[in-house]
Amino acid sequence: MAGAGETGAAAEVLARPKKQRPVADFAGKRGPELWRHIEEALEDPEVRERLGRELPRDEGYLDPVSRRKFLQLSAVTMAIAGVSACTKQPLEPIVPYVRQPEGMTLGKPLYFATAFPLSGVLRPVLVKSNEGRPTKIEGNPQHPASLGGSSVFTQASLYDLYDPDRSQTIEYLGDVRAWSAFLGAMRGQVNAQKAIGGAGIRLLTGTTTSPSFAAQVNALKKNFPQMKWHVYEPLNRDTVKQGAQQALGQVVETRYDIAAADVIVSLDANFLSGEFPGFERYARDFAARRKPEAGGGAAGGGQRPMLRFYAIETSPTNTGGKVDHRLGVKPSELEQAAGALASLVASTGNEAGAVPGDFAGFVLAARADLQSARGRSIVIAGDQAPASVHALAHRMNAALGNVGRTVFYTDPIESNPAVQIDSLKDLINDLKANKVDVLIISGVNPAFDAPADLEFGKWVGAAKLVVHHGLYQDETSAHAHWHVNAAHYLESWSDGRAYDGTVSIVQPLIAPLYGGKTEHELLAAFSDNPDQAAYEIIRGFWQAQPQMGGADFEIKWRRAVHDGFIANSQLPPKNVTAGGAAAAATARQNGGEIEVVFRPDPTIYDGRFGNNAWLQEIEKPLTTITWDNTIWISMALAQRLKLYDAAMQQSANVVELELNGRKVRGPLYVQPGMPDGMVTVFTGYGHTHIGHTGNGFGYNAYEVRSSDAPWSAAGAKLTRTDRTVPVAMIQPEQQVHAGDVKDRNGLPVETRDLVRIGTVEKFHKDPRFAQKSDTQEPSTAGPDELPKDSLLPNYNYSGYAWAMVIDLNSCVGCNACIAACQAENNIPVVGKEQVLKRRPMHWLRVDTYYDDVANPRMYFQPLPCMQCEDAPCEYVCPVGATVHSTEGLNDMVYNRCVGTRYCSNNCPYKVRRFNFLLFQDWNTPQLKLMRNPEVSVRSRGVMEKCTYCVQRITKARITAEEEDRPVRDQEFTTACAQACPADAIVFGNQNQKDGRTATLKASPRNYGLLEELNTRPRTTYLAGVLNPNPGLKTKDVEEAERE
């Protein structure tokens, strides 16, 4: 056999191509070609195999890639590595500063004033910078539009800066290009367009208030007199402008002085929610005027009555949660209700008969209050209310003499105050007519959010060249030839106006992480001086302005950049009067059909925050839903259409919403307080191209939105599908609070007196009503008195005793505190799946309760750690990982925690959060930059919780010790308290008797949550007090008045 094999093998070898070693050709073989057996030389496969096992040869037995292939691949790799060199790599100094930058001490953060633009309107901010990394955003306390407060968007905009999915390169048809290549490419276009006066150039931006941007456009128009500047944002304020035009004959900006008001009537205005321009200031003033104590709070002065607040709402909002009286109406009835109120306000007679029966009580009461507060009242219409309602509001304010006293008109703050939907239609018509050669889209995403009937995605292709400039490679950039990655506002020089017109200079905190360009630089690319830096543009613009220019420009400029705003640049009030009589209310025909209301998503807004993981996971006000938008429906309608399943928990029926032939599918959510016969859809979800975080969540409401009915439409059809989807809620067991309440299983939950509410009347009769609870012994014990039922003497907190008071009357439920806490304390995002498993990580939540399904009152209760003096969590920890500090903090020692989770079980407030898995992202480099270096980043298996921002306490204590003084009252505060625009959260040393915290703790409204458990919480609440119209007794008011 062996012989045969050998011969066979030899013959085979002989037959092999020349390249192989010929068989017995041993001549000339030396050295490594030696052989031991004839079989080896003959390359018998069997022998080779056997030998191979013994003496492995380099015949590619391990790596299928040959040397040649390897070198080929290496070459390609080198070539690709060369490509990335197109982006300038940031300098990476690896040694400490030889010369320290002025004012910088390593380890000590610096703060810079700048401003966050949301739909053009600037929100003034103060940004903390740790060694050049922006790590926390706060409201600018000196700016009249913020006073230190901020919104959930402002807080979370930090995440956008570091979002790993942000667009990082300039691209042409998907290939990476340099900025110079872009400039070069645009030169050709510019030259071609110059010849035709720019007739083919179209600029599409979002709402902007930047004076220098407007100046840049005007300068461009000198070269291109026929170019057009279009503005379109899906959440525009067109109806505001149209309403002003109707009533006042011109487009104006309306500004309110809530501090000067005694009565407010809201016509579908969600002014206590982050997206409303001026929200921070309005919330502060509103909360200050809602204090039941005599004097009406800080802003009021003198003996002024507590503000009374009425709201007529379509879709429920957190603003509607703060009312004394709320009227839920369908969109078709809004105008009717507003019209009835307007005609009554204008007259003095008793025309009760003119009011439709449903609204009579409400409208008459509101009218009486408005008329008794002439010049001290406000009628405020919402950004989504129809123009006619705005006109009615203007007329009412005029009739009540509010203009100039509580309501002020100024020039519009927008640089291009066009009616945006017309502007977009104009652009699309030009596209259809093939008039567009160069379309520059900056900062907007019309392919995603333009009204469905305009078919932007279809017509954008008609432009010969599309340039997209944005933070993300999104749905629109997919249609663009060029994509220029935008600089985040924290990387940009820019400017703009706050809601009141105050000009802010936007300054960068960090060099663009990916070399992004600002819209100013983008626009400059089409000018004669294409490679201009934004800094030069902005500075150059302001140097030319009379208010800044002159010899002392440098001083003024430095002051403006330092302060974050140009002092006294508010737009002056204009003297405008509402002309003409109220147009007859044209109530839409209501044939029992379902109406649809479009609303901005409370956290994702118009979709621009779709990839912002923080905003995705922050609970939406009222529903506490995360990661999804839902279709809101009233209980009555859901039951009538057989769409409601009582058994649903954390999952929802998917329904198909059909409007004008267009369909969208989304999960149904039964929202208490929804008027019957309508549904609400929320914008911003349904992204397909924005990033790993945001793609694929929710439905896209823009798909059913049409240009003629942007905010509400009638004639919708709802059909049930056989699908259900999980909906991740922070608070899955939504509880109706007051009265004989039943839980999901029909069991009596009973009033637990978690949220204590009274009326002004009751408060004046018995200021301590909140301290007399059904569930506990009446207690008059102040914070420093001994509780009656303790065997042991109290610990004597002789130094600081940190404590917190949360005024339930002030909290507007905007959730800014949650975002602030997340940013300050390096709180990870866990994702929808983990929220569904009930493992969200927020240290602070805002509990929401209702007292009714059809027409509820809503209560918001922010819940951080209570820092109990007798903390149930502490004594059950087997390793002493949670211990009490001498300053009364319930400290969490992460390093010591072994993760028994006993502390969480024993926490009656359930404020502890556990790292069930490795929730923290330890790998993404951008997210490492984002973190607060003063707070440890927790890993898997460790319990964590609110610490009252112990890092801030420590820092303040150290500073005070260095300066040999005690920590001053309100010298610093926690992240949540600092962010709160309504000043609802007050933190401080309760041992300082004249301090704010101690003063509030002494308030008769002060009560502790679950105090009957003798946990002695350091976080306490001030009971809510309503100011209802005595003539308008509703069920909930009666309940609040009852003992």
């Binding site: 509880q735 978690l754 059950v876 390793v879």
Partner: protein
Amino acid sequence: MAEHEEHIDEMSSHLAPAGPAILAPGHTFATITDKISAVVLSRDTPAAWLLATGGFGLLMMWLLFATAYQLARGIGIWGVNIPVAWGFAIVNFVWWIGIGHAGTLISAILLLLKQKWRNSINRFAEAMTLFAVMCAGYYPVMHLGRPWLAYWLFPYPNTMGVWPQFRSALVWDVFAVSTYFTVSLIFWYQGLIPDLATLRDRSQSKAGRIIYGILAMGWRGSARHWKRYDSSYRLLAGLATPLVVSVHTVVSFDFAIAVVPGWHTSIFPPYFVAGAIYSGFAMVLVLAIPIRRIYGLDDFITTKHLDNCAKLMLATGEIVAYGYIIESFMAWYSGNLYERYMILDRMGGKYSIFYICLISINVFFVQVLWIRRIRRSPALLFLVSVIVLAAMWLERFVIVVQSLHADFLPSSWAMYYPTFWDITQFLGTIGLFAFGMLMFIRFLPMISIFEIRELLPEAHVSLQEVD
């Protein structure tokens, strides 16, 4: 059958004044020794043993895999959440540790009470205790977020200068369970020594002689050995006796010292101890009934034993039922609205099906044990015991999960759903337990040879002389 029993009664009337015998007639020292040691020394292994070892061995391997996976990913693979931060792990811990209690009760208390019938079942009941405590001990360690730091619960001198926090019931648990395991192990091992010597002497193989010889620690069976053996055994029994009560009392403190409605109850210690013994005897029966059948040990584990175990189950079951009644009564009587809601939710809420099941079994169904025929029917008794074990597991589930899922603030209420890993890890511990028991049956005498020999009249006489 009845005739047969009467016959036994007559024969052994001088040992036990009345009732059926605890040892079948006709046995001598030699036959007892032969029969019991044969199980171990025989080369033939019953097919049932091989099959069971294969099956449960696989389950045990799954436990190893699941444990490795859990160590790699974290306890988030389970269904635990906030508010229900303790789930299957603690349910299973309490269940397993409860099962162990019957072993200690039988070996210690019944020994001191001179209940001779315990001699036939104490050995494997003690082994059962050991393996059950091992399964129980697995959970408190593995349920930690960072199990590799479990040793921080022990008070050992360390450079950190930190001690455990002694106010926590979990630290008490560490002491209670580790003491319990240690004492049970020593007690079990000491009980084995004379039998190990027997095996050493009878083993045919050299390996057997060496291994059993080492384990027998030089036991020669001299009178002096026996004298010392007897006193130390009784001493250990005295030490073990308080453990019967203390261990589950301490386990109940894990709940009772907390503020959670449904946990914060002073009835928990006695109620838990009774429940433990109740489920422990159920497990003894679940093990004894198939074993006596497969190995033909009806002579040593007679219907009298089954009857006695069933009676103990019934008695402790009534205490448990009393606990349920008092729990509900106190919720009403205290007027505490959280307690009241908790009990109403227990009865009518999301988890009510579990509560209804456990009440109908532990309060009503278990009353079938009043019927003598059921107590004496191995098949029926086996069935009842399995049902009781399941009900006791449900009881712990209801206490742990239902109490936590809806406590004080309705905003935090949420459901707990076990995951695939929760369930299979539990099955894995059953695999570990059964595998351990099977190994024990195969390699050690599952019934105490010398203690059975003591049941013979001859031994009775000689023992009295020794005393």
